[in-house]
């Protein structure tokens, strides 16, 4: 049931929820504090992804966005819904990315979060005068979905390589190496 609601929230943010369902969901959000917090979080992430945040934001706000993105990206992996939102979230969550996606893959190809109940606080008003321009925050790099799949394939393949023992720790060195991808796609 909760997954269904989360899926509807995601569709709402993506403007893909039918009007009758919107009304029902709005009533539900009005009476469910957890759902309300989740909607605020989805909206926050969505705004950040679409560069719709205000020109001037405080650093704590940026940290809250990052925390929300991180949290959601772990949960969406095991959630049936939120596909579009998830597609937006995942590249940001792993901005250093290829490696972290790869590591998830090397470990299991499937992950669950240890404590899904612990949700980051979001959407409190800026309280500090120490503002920075939003322009100065690093822009998220949206990479194609195929990059994520490719990382998973690269790491999965390592598990089968006949000669992997030759290099001892090299497969792990590749994983913790930084910014090592290269492309020459069609």
């Amino acid at each position: 049931m909760k997954d269904r609601l989360h899926e509807q929230l995601s569709a709402l943010i993506d403007d893909e929820l039918a009007e009758p369902e919107q009304a029902l969901l709005a009533r539900r959000v009005g009476t469910d504090a957890e759902l309300h917090r989740r909607l605020a979080r989805y909206q926050l992430i969505s705004d950040a992804m679409r560069n719709q945040l205000p020109d001037r934001i405080d650093p704590a706000f940026t940290a809250r966005v990052q925390a929300a993105v991180r949290d959601e990206s772990t949960q969406t992996s095991s959630m049936p819904g939120s596909r579009r939102l998830a597609a937006l979230l995942k590249p940001v969550a792993g901005l250093a990315v290829a490696a972290s996606v790869a590591v998830v893959a090397v470990l299991s190809l499937q992950s669950v979060r240890e404590d899904p109940a612990a949700l980051p606080a979001v959407a409190s008003a800026p309280s500090s005068a120490d503002f920075i321009r939003a322009d100065n925050t690093p822009a998220p790099t949206i990479r194609p979905r195929t990059d994520k799949n490719l990382d998973i394939y690269l790491v999965n393949h390592n598990e089968y390589a006949v000669n992997r023992g030759m290099h001892g720790m090299l497969p792990y060195a590749r994983i913790i190496s930084h910014d090592m991808s290269r492309d020459s796609r069609d």
Binding site: L107, V112, T146, Y160, R164, A173, I176, R185
Partner: protein, 321 residues
Amino acid sequence: MRWLPVLLLVAGSAVAQETAWQWLDDMASAVQGLNYDGTFVYLHDDKLEAMRIIHQLGDTGERERLVALTGSAREVLRNNKLVTCIMPDSKSVMVGQSRPQPPFPVVPDNLGSLEKYYRIEIIGDDRIAGYLTRVIAITPKDSYRYGYRFWIDKESKMFLRSDLTGNDSRPIEQVMFTRLGIGGPIADSELQPSLTGDGYAWYHQDNSKAAPESTGNNPRWIVRRLPAGFDLTNYQLKRMHPDSDATEHLVYSDGLATVSVYVETGAVGADAFRGLSGKGAMNAFGAVVDGHQVTVVGEVPAVTVEMMASSVVARSGGRHD
């Protein structure tokens, strides 16, 4: 009598190769069986990174800690099969089981077959990080596979440097120790992570939810153009994500190099992966065949993954949708 020189030459070559393989076999045992603590540089794609490795074989098995010394201080800890990766840049910790790693059988049963495609020899001595080493070269006889060079400590048989080489024998990836302590006791504190992971998102592998792997049926796809010596060594139907369609995984190997072919059973989306990509010595080539995403991945030259990806076809009479 006139054949004697030829016989001696052939026998001599075989002995030399067996000796070279023995060096590699000893090296593989040393990598897994010795205590060591060292710093190495990792060169790839014109990038140079430094890492520290601490390895211990104790009463409870193998323990290892690998730390990136340049860039973000990422760490990998391995306690036998349990692997923990700490990524400060994404504030995440991943814990899981690695697949069991068989000891590297450096002296393979099909040595004769390998000799058709590789030349394996001792090419000299060198000094690395203060150690006297013997250099073993594995050189491919065609352009469809990479070569390898290992600098092996004459005493401990630990490797001090390894190069993965392209067709022109120039290194594509290099690992070289700049400092290495071998054989001493390893303090337990050295195998502890320097980061606590407090405040990080923790991910745990959940084996109970792992996608089932199936090896029962024949693959529904085949690769028509394979480099000589490559045979199908493994086939599985598996789910790469909890919410994805199953993927066929075909593994081809010539006994040394390995190439994976992944064919997604679901229809390909608008973001299909086409063309060449890769990391370090790993190359990948994406193609769409009959509406399915095909991805070929291997520690082989780009020409090999491209040739294989371009020749994937559905088996006649087999279902593929």
